[in-house]
Amino acid sequence: MPHPVMDPTLAAPFPKAALPMLRNTQLRKNVGHATDVIQAKRAHLVAEKTDWQQLRSAASAIRAHVLENLGPYLEQFESRCTAAGGVVHWAADAAEARAIILDLLRQEQASEVIKIKTMTSAEIQLNPALEAAGIHAFETDLAELILQLGDDEPSHIVVPALHVNRSQVREIFARRMGRTDLTDDPKTLADAARTYLRQKFLSIPTAISGANFLIAETGGVGVVESEGNGRMCLTLPRTMITLAGIEKILPRFQDLEVILQVLARSATGERMNPYTSLWTGVTPGDGPQRFHVVLLDNGRSSMLARPVERQTLKCIRCAACMNACPVYRQTGGHAYGSVYPGPIGAILTPQLMHLEHAQTLPYASSLCGACYEVCPVKINIPEVLIELRARVTDLERKQPARFLDPMFLGMRVANGIFASSGRFRAAQRLGRIALRAFTGKDGWIHSLPGLGARWTMTRDLRGLPEETFHEWWSKRNKPSSNSVSKETVAR
């Protein structure tokens, strides 16, 4: 497999990027199996909560409230975090965030850092920037470690190595750690990772994390995780740098009561995630003594102004939408050309790119609605997808090259046809005649030219019947029409 492209400015259009994934039988088996397992666990634990819909509504309301009052809450977070000994930095875009983090690491004279899984750092493509500056980042999340050692990229935001199975993990560890003694047993593999990582935790004094929550009321930061590697990173180093999107705010500590309940169930199918770390500024003699938070905008504030698209920022990154998505199930995450794959990625990535890139992602959905149904904060993803399709179409309308694009042409012609019933009837008659040439003796169409070939590549199409419903109705209800019995036979 070629190295996955995770930069939306460079990625191929979704339909093209999906092709090698569809041909990869191992990947499809891994993704299908993993999403089935997570979905079954989630469904079981959601079913036991009789108040699940109320919890969803509460979580949705908290997140919507945050977005309506984001400015004041961010300022509150900044002042409380600063008062507790943290340093808050503001980054308008990815480049600024990278520069801030690099500058902080230079002050620390760091040549190595340990990292907790942070998708936001992948969003700003931090690791390559660190490497270029001579700083090596060690991923400490097991899945991220597997990907880093395997020279691979995340395909899922909660289970980044979801597309890799344990035999592949054994092979990567054997190759990169020199551990030829390993088996496919998960415990043996986890032990190998633990041995490898333990020396890093104990020897590297600088860490980078993401954040699940920024609590405005206390200035505190929260990270949830399953492995305990995060707890190591958050307690052992001298210096901690946390990178967080500005939308990660929760107003009050008490809001965790709702959010943690829906997050763990939706993300990993657990009642509570194994490790929840919360810290506020610095505490003398306990944990990191220098603490920085980099608040990243990178396109987020521009989304706030749009009432439909704004809900995208309610996301708490549980990934339930990708586990439920029948498109993601077939393609896995790499086809989306972004660290954010699946339905949430299909709406988030194009917006982070100001619709200048990733324009095919809003179309990477059959609008089946499975994502909306499982979303714990009720993001109406199909609604946002349709909104973004309208915006992409409006941009494309202005491009002269699109004027003769078959899809555009077809849509314009169809609109003219549907505007008048006379034209619609004429088009039906014309279509019937035109399609006759493609209709086989069995009455079915097996092959069509142009855009139609995109249909007939895998499906037949029944030839057009000799009589439309409208024609049948007109005949049947003609005032001069014959007796009922005759009509019943003609039926």
Partner: protein
Amino acid sequence: MRTSLFITCYNDTLYPETGRAVVHLLERLGVEVEFRPTQTCCGQMHANTGFRGEAFSQAKRFVRLYQDAESVVIPSSSCVAMIRDQYPGLFEELGNETLRRDFAALVPRVYELSEFLIDRVGTEDVGAYFPHRVTYHASCHGLRALHLGDRPFRLLAKVRGLEQVPLENLDRCCGFGGTFSIKNAEVSSAMLSAKLTDVLATRAEYCTALDNSCLMHIGGALHREFAGMKTIHLAQILASTEAVPAEATL
């Protein structure tokens, strides 16, 4: 009881037998059916592909055409979902207050077929006879947008001679998605392939649904593969009787 049939553009053109079945079924139940000949399309294809202005003109057309109807029945769950879920946003965005109000008054009287039968006519047993093994495919819009729930199963349960076979992964999309099936034809085909595996595992004679667009997709692949299974709209099963079996209307 009177109702106005909105047949939908693609049923009118590609699946007139579904429309004929709706008429025969409703008339048999004592409902007077009317058909307004100037109807065309609800605008779903344009809206879902991003052509919002075009969708708006079709939405406006729909409201104007049916605002005085006693009720409207539509044998296509995705078109009903378009009307219920997308029209309000379209009218609000375009700031057309009159249209928004007229729509709000009309929409409670717009029914998907199984809703009309159970909620409006108030019957589950429509007196149908269809002696075949049948599996029901729950179209995404019927399932998640309209929340049809067990309505189709209750209707099927009362059809004499019919044997229902449950479909695995009932809530999973067949991959049609309108222009998605063209723009992302390969991914759509992969989804269809997975659906076909479940459909064929039922060993049913017919796969039925409340949306001919899904059936066009599933049926297109069944035909391509000489799979020995047919698709049929639920309306045609419900219209079927001993005297006039559905096969005669296909």
